[in-house]
Symmetry: C2
Subunit: 630 residues, 2 copies
């Protein structure tokens, strides 16, 4: 069993068991890689087979997969990323996150397509994969409690390899904050608590040495070169990837989403445009004019959306961060009603160091601010902190408390779904999450597709399952109900493809918001699969179904495919999207259509037996029969 025919692969996955300290190398076959492509596909299949989805995310029998796709190790634009997946402590379901960081390349150079870690170490450890393939489980007791940047630096020094790449957690991951992230260089695998899973395994970091020399084969070199030339040209020509993102990064979105669309959650989505809030104050334009230190880019990325910002004058003078991204400006800014960019930069930098997802942190805080202002919680709940909207001191100072799970921080660490359940008193109406994952800054009310998209996504409230971009651009009418299910499925296929090749979603503007022949070509020139468009679609639907079956075994059903009550019952009160929302009947109508198109049962949202069989998942169908009526 080995990958012989195809390009793009090392052909091996490392399986590391921290309980037994045993390391096993799994050889991949031609059949396996053609069926599961890479990244998302590899991880979904391996984790479905390895994990009992009913166990706790923090159970040592949970596993976490660090994966590459066929593009890592090639020169494909935006491939400077890696993919990570596990059962999430926030959603209790299959979860994945893609992050910048050259570590995916180094894995490939070391001869591995990915690393799966299971078990739990009895004391803090880090994993060191040498470039020549050797694997060490090293003591990390001295690193426990350290910040993410310090940890990366210390490990590079320890292993004597300044060019090694290290994916590390901060104190938040160690202390099992449900939305702890993993930091590689300055980039985060942010969402769903992948860092907390590492923490539960006492795994402080994964390091891969820079001394690997295994090359990645390109199946069709000539056509690959042709494709690259075309793609690089298109990226340059496109206004978003060629100008907007390189110049401003994602903060460019504040003014268009917040003002033009009136669709930027504000005061915990009591508004999506609030005439009393000055969106200009947190805009990309202002960031660039007054805070910009320098532009940065992921390795191999011709777009370069990353920026370093610094406050040089205000209350939070000297605060500096890579970021904030648009999502952070939403979560910390409009949601918490804070328009001091210095505070946002400061809190953003702290989140990166302590290892927290800024979206879940900000949205959870915003939820508590509404609870506080409504009198559902009082000062005894908040340790005496006046948790009103606009409290920038709370935003900044609580980061550490959350990461260390101290006082109020210990509560905020649980996320909005759990907090609403415990606070009760009707607060579930405005807990802004789907399946437990806090919803980002793309409106489920102003963009019809996002309501259905969040509801049906494996991960819940992520803008990287459904994609809002096409609806903003008018590629799909954002008010339409008819045909929306098909659109949403298209965007979900698109992100799954990107997460499998492990490339950046920003390419959607060039390659298409939903799968196109471009993607087929991209895969075929590297791997040599000779896939048809139909095979590409079947691949997407296979992996999507696999993720869903994981969630089905974890107990999720159609009843969990929903969005916050607020979005189903309260129209947007002000601004350009005033009056818009998706009511329950409309959501249900779209859901019916969605399941129909996907070949899922409409009552429970479970993939039908024949659907699974058609997708090449007959064994999964058989397994599922033990748990559900087929």
């Amino acid at each position: 069993m080995a990958v012989e025919k195809y390009g793009g692969y090392a052909g091996k996955i490392l399986i590391v068991n921290l309980t037994t300290k045993k390391v096993h190398v799994k050889e991949l076959s031609d059949g396996f890689v053609r069926t599961y492509l890479g990244g998302n596909g590899f991880a979904a299949r391996l984790l479905y087979d390895m994990i009992d989805p009913r166990v706790d995310a923090y159970d040592p029998t949970n596993a976490i997969a660090f994966m590459t796709g066929p593009m890592q190790g090639t020169t494909m634009p935006t491939a400077g990323k890696y993919y990570v997946a596990s059962k999430s402590p926030l959603t209790n379901g299959y979860f994945d996150s893609v992050s910048g960081g050259f570590i995916g390349f180094l894995m490939k150079y070391a001869g591995y397509d990915g690393i799966v870690v299971t078990g739990r170490a009895d004391k803090p450890v880090y994993l060191y994969v040498h470039g020549k393939g050797e694997v060490e489980i090293r003591d990390a007791s001295h690193l426990w409690g350290k910040m993410t940047s310090e940890t990366q630096q210390a490990i590079k020094e320890e292993i004597g390899d300044p060019f090694a790449m290290v994916s590390a957690i901060g104190p938040a991951g160690e202390n099992l904050v449900r939305y702890a992230c993993i930091i590689t260089e300055y980039r985060a695998a942010g969402r769903g608590g992948m860092g907390a899973v590492m923490g539960s395994k006492k795994l402080k970091a994964v390091a891969v040495g820079s001394d690997g020399t295994q090359e990645v084969k390109i199946a069709n070199w000539e056509k690959y070169q042709e494709f690259l030339e075309w793609l690089n040209e298109e990226i340059k020509k496109n206004p978003a990837t060629g100008k907007g993102l390189p110049t401003y990064g994602t903060p460019i979105l504040v003014k268009s989403i917040g003002v033009q669309f009136g669709a930027m959650g504000t005061r915990n989505h009591q508004f999506e445009f609030d005439p009393n809030f000055n969106y200009e104050n947190i805009s990309g334009e202002k960031l660039n004019a007054e805070y910009l230190v320098k532009h940065m880019a992921c390795p191999l990325c011709p777009i370069g959306c990353s920026k370093v910002f610094k406050d040089t004058k205000g209350k939070w003078k000297d605060a500096q961060s890579e970021g904030p991204e648009y999502e952070t400006l939403y979560a910390f800014g409009s949601m918490c009603y804070i328009d001091d960019l210095g505070a946002i930069i400061k809190a953003d930098a702290l989140c990166d160091e302590y290892g927290l997802d800024t979206i879940s942190y900000g949205v959870t805080l915003s939820f508590l601010m509404e609870c506080y202002e409504k009198g559902l919680i009082d000062d005894s709940f908040t340790d005496g902190i006046k948790l009103n909207f606009g409290n920038d001191d709370a935003l900044v100072n609580l980061v550490e408390k959350v990461a260390l799970r101290q006082g109020l921080g210990d509560k905020v660490a649980e996320g909005s779904k759990r907090l609403a359940r415990l606070i009760g008193q009707g607060s579930e109406q405005f807990a802004i999450h789907a399946k437990g994952l806090e919803i980002p800054g793309h409106s489920a009310r102003a963009l019809r597709g996002m309501s259905l998209g969040y509801a049906t996504a494996t991960r819940g409230g992520s803008h990287h399952d459904p994609r809002p971009t096409g609806e903003y651009a008018g590629a799909s009418d954002r008010t339409a109900v008819e045909g929306k299910a098909e659109w949403v499925i298209g965007t979900q296929r698109f992100t799954l493809l990107g997460d499998s090749m492990v490339i950046c979603h920003f390419l959607e503007r060039v390659l298409g918001y939903t799968p196109t022949e471009h993607y087929v070509k991209m895969i075929n020139v590297v791997t040599g699969f000779d896939w048809s468009f139909e095979e590409l679609i079947a691949y997407c639907d296979r992996i999507w179904a696999l993720e869903r079956c994981f969630n089905i075994k974890a107990g999720m059903r159609r009843v969990d495919d929903t969005i916050p009550r607020r979005f189903l019952t309260e129209p947007i009160p002000e601004g350009a999207s005033k009056g818009m929302y998706t009511d329950e009947a409309t959501l249900n109508k779209m859901l019916d259509e969605y399941y129909e198109l996907r070949g899922y049962d409409k009552k429970l949202g479970i993939p039908k037996k024949e659907t699974l069989q058609k997708l090449g998942l007959a064994d999964v169908a058989e397994d599922l029969e033990k748990y559900i009526y087929a």
Copy 2:
């Protein structure tokens, strides 16, 4: 809404939320108490309504219920107990445990039928319920890390009430050992990790003051007196409750089960009678002759099975413990192949102090000893400990390591199911658990009913769901297949009844191994329900179905209704029960019959819609429809 017509109740349940620090008093109605009786029934209903069974046991939204039944506060023999239930970190399902301890009485005197705790404190706390009803959430930071006896003593001193009762956890509960117990006086709510759930809530203890004065009404005083007279007389007359248990306690069983039946798991059930093991050395007779310090009894108990034993001469000189019970002699003795009673007494005492369940601890250790001797794990796994059968130093010294989750102890703390999953290499064949709960010292091979009983029990490997006593006594032929499902259901009904009234299972010898008219009378004289026998049975089946529906929502199915592979494939090799076992086909035949009788679907083991409706659980049926096909 209040309990007005019926005797036996305070009519109120305390609901304490450690996240919000809010305390709420739930009033019970006549209808509620008649439908849910008490203890097990109250908890099953309240927890079904409060908990999403799909969350982690350590999730702050999990809840733990400390309950009484209608007998607490009366003079009913053996009522000196209380009941505790939660989602278990060991089985991931509904779990309950009954323990000696006068705390149930004090709850009633304080005006509460029970206490449900949800949420999680941000620092260690204990709950103090004053006898006059007031509730305090008190700081327990200074008690964190303390042993169970020291904790109880310290709290009694702190609140200035030497007669208060305190249910406390030790370091094992604090450190989330999956089988951490709760200690009240010297008695344990032992199984399923209820202590770990307390630990996850940072709840060190629940204390109830002795200054309560609320009386418990008896519905029919005259008939109650008559019944009591009769019952006390019968207890005295019965050889087990009148003589065997008072004289020897449960250790009397070693010789009969180990030698006479040849049915006492030995060397991790490689044997159930091993001619090379001297069962005499760990017998009740030897304990009584050489180790007995004194007899003790739970409050109000005319049986008095409890003993204090001390080693006065051997390697473990001065070791002293309340116990060991028979189950501990099995788990530490024959299972770990240790016949030095001093070591067993020492480890037993340590388990009580650190707060560990002796069955799960001993059986897990025994599993690892087999793994070690088979070479599946080596010295790097065991921190250099030679983990051979018979290593009494390991048994004693590891208790602390497990409780503190240090080194090998951190692994042992996970229990055999999870360890087998991580160790692999075929070790799942001999991981001795059902649904993740380690199996006690009553053979699933020599007693046919226990194979079906463990397989179908809500809790898995507990001898307090199915009961072995009747099969030992010949009330049901232990080799029979025919009719065994009915027998098992009868014993499951019996234990559920006992756990609802909250009385001791030892009364089975007097009142019947399966429900009889005696139980009807016992309930009716105290409560005044005027139940018929049919209503009694319907009650039992209602609560059993409710527990099962909790597990169904947690993802369990027929496929989980099983026993260790060893028991299904390897006949007992030696002794009086040589050759006996239940193969898979036989188990399946009994399972089919079991589900048929219970009104559960045979394919998945899910209660049918009409069964739930008939049992008065139409709302549960409706809820379940969102997750399964009815």
